[in-house]
């Protein structure tokens, strides 16, 4: 797969340049960061570079990746979704409740996708019909969704009783690779194709790069914004059920770290909050950076508090370095 579709990287230049550009020179930096983190943690801890640990990391990163896939489209079209963590929490809570009440078994997977998608559409409808900035809309629904979820859970973790359901996440169709990571990679592949080869994907770039231009040319901007929020919610819902299956329960802390981590992964991967630049393919690398950082710092025994500081600085540094290419644009 080549990533030459991204509009921020023209194919012009010398033949050699053109070949390099096919792989987006902007990608080399985040890939370099992944490799650097890899080397540093391998050298400083004995337990990082082990198959067992990679299994663990992939399991942890998978939920984040699935949730980030849809949210990347939102950022790509110049909006923001702060509520993905809350959607994960609420979908998790509703799904476990439904599972225990009605015993729907495997059907809980499409059920969770529908619930998540519905919540995403709620965001999208308020955003497009009410003409309220997405930041405000999702900040509000973040609180609303979390509140409903915590009411449902009554502040406790609820286990599900559906024997075998956990295998969708922690089973290993491919040895050493938890299924949840497998699904995440497959979902990534599908969404990358959506982003680069479909009308939906193209419209996301166009809306992010020039919403007024798209509107003037007859692109149904409002409808596609709605689709994007629906898709983001749907993937968050799927992420929720896989996370619940992996943990065996839905608890109040489900998805609580996703707000920072999802935006960090998307931005570190190279999708600009200004819209129109980046893409889903890049988000995989952002997720790897965040997940490896989390895992490595844990293994080094760095305290939780210091980890927060480091992660925050890494996000800012990554954006600082990658921003050079489009210096001079207005920062909001």
């Amino acid at each position: 797969m080549t990533f030459s579709l991204s509009p921020d990287r023209p194919w012009t230049g010398t033949p050699l340049r053109r070949i390099l550009n096919r792989f987006e020179p902007g990608l080399w930096f985040p890939i370099g960061v992944v490799l650097a983190l890899f080397v540093v943690f391998s050298l400083t801890t004995s337990s990082f570079a082990t198959l067992r640990n990679f299994s663990a990391v992939s399991g942890q990163a998978a939920t984040l990746l699935i949730v980030c896939l849809g949210a990347t489209f939102i950022v790509l079209m110049g909006s923001i979704d702060l509520s993905v963590g809350a959607i994960v929490l609420l979908t998790g809570a509703v799904s476990v409740t439904a599972l225990n009440a009605w015993g729907i078994g495997w059907l809980v997977i499409p059920f969770a996708a529908l619930v998540g998608g519905g919540l995403g559409l709620v965001n999208g409808l308020i955003y497009t019909k009410g003409r309220i900035p997405s930041f405000i809309v999702t900040l509000g629904t973040l609180s609303v969704f979390s509140g409903i979820a915590l009411t449902l859970l009554d502040g406790r973790a609820i286990q599900f009783n559906a024997p075998g359901l956990e295998t969708i996440s922690i089973g290993q169709l491919i040895p050493r690779l938890p299924n949840i990571a497998l699904w995440a990679i497959l979902a990534w592949g599908v969404v990358v194709v959506i982003g680069s080869r479909t009308r939906f994907g193209r419209y996301m770039y166009l809306i992010g790069g020039g919403e007024q231009v798209a509107q003037t040319a007859g692109v149904p901007v409002g409808r596609y914004k709605l689709y994007a929020f629906g898709l983001s919610g749907l993937l968050a819902g799927l992420g929720a059920i896989f996370a619940v299956a992996r943990l065996g329960a839905a608890g109040p802390s489900l998805g609580s770290d996703l707000l920072l981590n999802s935006l960090a992964a998307i931005v570190v991967g190279g999708t600009s909050l200004a819209g129109g630049v980046g893409g889903v393919h890049r988000t995989l690398i952002g997720v790897l950076i965040i997940a490896i950082l989390d895992n490595g710092l844990n293994l080094m025994g760095v305290s939780q508090f210091l980890q927060m500081i480091i992660k925050g600085l890494v996000v800012i540094a990554a954006v600082l370095v990658s921003r050079k290419a489009n210096a001079g644009q207005v920062i909001k």
């Binding site: 479909t198 939906f200 166009l206 020039g210 231009v213 798209a214 509107q215 003037t216 149904p220 129109g276």
Partner: protein
């Protein structure tokens, strides 16, 4: 004031007689594309120098270099006797070179005086962070008074219309160097300053130019040749990134300049008037009924037939652009319907209209027309995402998109463009050809064009005019909204004149009996005609 030859200090001692700016052998290339090669020119002190040339000839690059936005690959510049190498726009301003950009850079939501003194606030600071507002207002008043503007500096900038805002911007660039920063001999760069001015503000502008010329110099870019000949001391003609000629206005004329710019004399039949259709089919290509673009506007009913060009003229605040947006359905009108060809009358909506065969080209190209960072092909295909360039399953037809973009690049001679070239690399005229191609690909039946040749050079203009005539031959109905009178007269079969959101005159313009500019201007000015009567003019 045309002391352009290097003067020997002995024979010509006063420094003000020398050149304020000397550029030598400037060259610039972006990858394989050379945009400027070996260009040398002088700006004599206290003079007006104009750069003319087609879009893409290198004028903007010269301006970008002088205003510190780009650095030349080779070449030197001397300004006021010193080497001039600004590394940012701010540095250029500090050295005394200011610029009015083609697109406005005023902040709408603050009073005029803050815009006039933007970046100079430190001069008015009291006790650290507090700003001496009264002193700022006084300084700003001095600027608008010197510029001869009727502007209240304490009013919100956005309350003034586009033309007045442009005047404010020009006044800022022309007068802050001397009045505020105390630069003795400023150089002011003006990039098509008059294209956005209406007639009332143009006179004020030329007075200001004469005022500034008493102590500083101005470097112009303009496509209006009459204006160029009128105000310039020296004219430099750029062609394909190189200097083609250096002339005094008294040794040239419009035709000669056009000839130098495009390498040929401008065709006498610039607007292809001979190809204007006399006989039009009785049915309508587009019929707009009772359209009210905004709450304050009157109802407008108009009809355009296949093969007809209906011109709409008026001052900048006449509401003609808003009417265009309403008819195309880009901005939903307050009321009224539009029927395309045989279709039923409906409230216009660009999403549906575009699929039914309507195309719309906006006036504000960089805001509404193109996405500069995206490739030519993407900008081209944006209007056809729902049908031509995606499959029923929703997959994008990238091959078809590329081939079609390539075909139009060839057919319209979009210079130095490939489907994957980012739009911002193209000159204004070539960008506009891409916007035109966006709709041509859809084989439209109706086109609504708002200033389709704004910021487009003479050569590309004529190519666009030719395409419009080709379209009328194919029976396309065209609504042409334009601020350029000659274009309005030359292209239109019939001309509607608007004032304050209402159509005040319907002027026939057959090829053999075109109305004159004076006739139309008289109709545009308030008080010339009441909204009820239909004025017919024959010349």
């Amino acid at each position: 004031m045309t002391a352009h030859f290097p003067v020997t200090p002995a024979s010509n001692p006063p420094p003000s007689q020398a050149n304020l700016l000397e550029a030598r052998n400037l060259s610039k290339a972006y990858g394989p594309v050379t945009v400027l090669s070996d260009v040398s020119f002088d700006v004599p002190a206290r003079s007006v120098v104009t750069l003319v040339g087609e879009n893409g000839a290198g004028k903007s690059t010269v301006f970008n270099i002088l205003s510190g936005l780009t650095r030349p690959d080779r070449g030197t510049i001397t300004f006021a006797g010193q080497p001039f190498r600004p590394d940012s726009h701010r540095a250029a301003v500090r050295l005394g070179v200011t610029r009015v950009f083609q697109e406005q850079s005023l902040v709408h939501n603050v009073p005029v005086y803050e815009n006039l003194l933007i970046g100079e606030e430190a001069r008015y600071a009291r006790f650290g962070q507090w700003v001496d507002r009264k002193a700022m207002v006084r300084a700003a008043r001095r600027i608008v008074e010197t510029a001869g503007l009727d502007v209240d500096v304490e009013r919100r900038t956005g309350d003034y219309d586009f033309s007045t805002r442009q005047s404010i911007e020009i006044a800022r660039a022309c007068l802050t160097p001397t009045l505020i920063r105390g630069v003795g001999e400023p150089l002011i760069l003006l990039d098509e300053p008059t294209s956005a001015l209406d007639r009332r503000d143009e006179d004020t502008f030329f007075d200001l130019v004469r005022e500034v010329r008493k102590y500083g110099s101005l470097l112009f870019v303009s496509h209006r040749m009459a204006e160029v000949l009128d105000i310039s001391d020296v004219i430099y003609v750029l062609k394909d990134g190189a200097l083609a000629a250096r002339l005094r206005p008294d040794e040239t004329d419009e035709h000669h300049l056009h000839g130098l710019m495009v390498g040929r004399e401008r065709a006498r039949d610039y607007y292809y008037e001979a190809r204007q259709h006399r006989e039009l089919p009785p049915r309508a290509g587009l019929r707009a009924e009772g359209i009210r673009a905004a709450a304050g506007a009157s109802e407008v009913t108009l009809e355009v037939r296949p093969g007809e060009i209906l011109g709409i003229g008026g001052l900048l605040d006449s509401g003609k652009s808003e009417l265009g947006k309403a008819i195309a359905g880009v901005r939903a009108p307050v009321g009224g319907t539009v029927a395309l060809k045989d279709g039923a009358p409906q409230a216009p909506d660009i999403r549906r209209s575009a699929r039914a065969g309507l195309g719309y080209i906006p006036a504000e190209r960089l805001v509404e027309g193109i996405i500069p960072a995206f490739p030519v092909a993407w900008n081209f295909s944006i209007g056809s995402g729902c049908d031509l360039f995606s499959t029923r399953a929703g997959f994008w037809r990238r091959g078809a998109e590329r081939r079609a973009a390539h075909r139009h690049i060839e057919a319209l001679a979009v210079r130095s463009a490939r489907p994957e070239t980012p739009m911002h690399r193209l000159s204004g005229g070539n960008q506009q050809k891409v916007v035109l191609a966006r709709w041509l690909e859809r084989r439209p039946e109706v086109l609504v064009l708002d200033n389709p040749t704004r910021g487009v050079d003479a050569g590309a203009k004529q190519e666009i005019y030719r395409v419009l005539r080709d379209l009328t031959d194919q029976g396309v109905a065209i609504v042409l909204i334009t601020d350029e009178l000659l274009e309005l007269i030359g292209l239109s079969n019939r001309i509607l004149i608007m004032q304050r959101g209402a159509v005040v005159a319907d002027v026939p313009a057959p090829a053999d009996a075109k109305p004159s500019e004076q006739d139309l201007v008289a109709l545009m000015l308030p008080g010339a005609a009441s909204s009820s009567e239909q004025v017919e003019i024959t010349t």
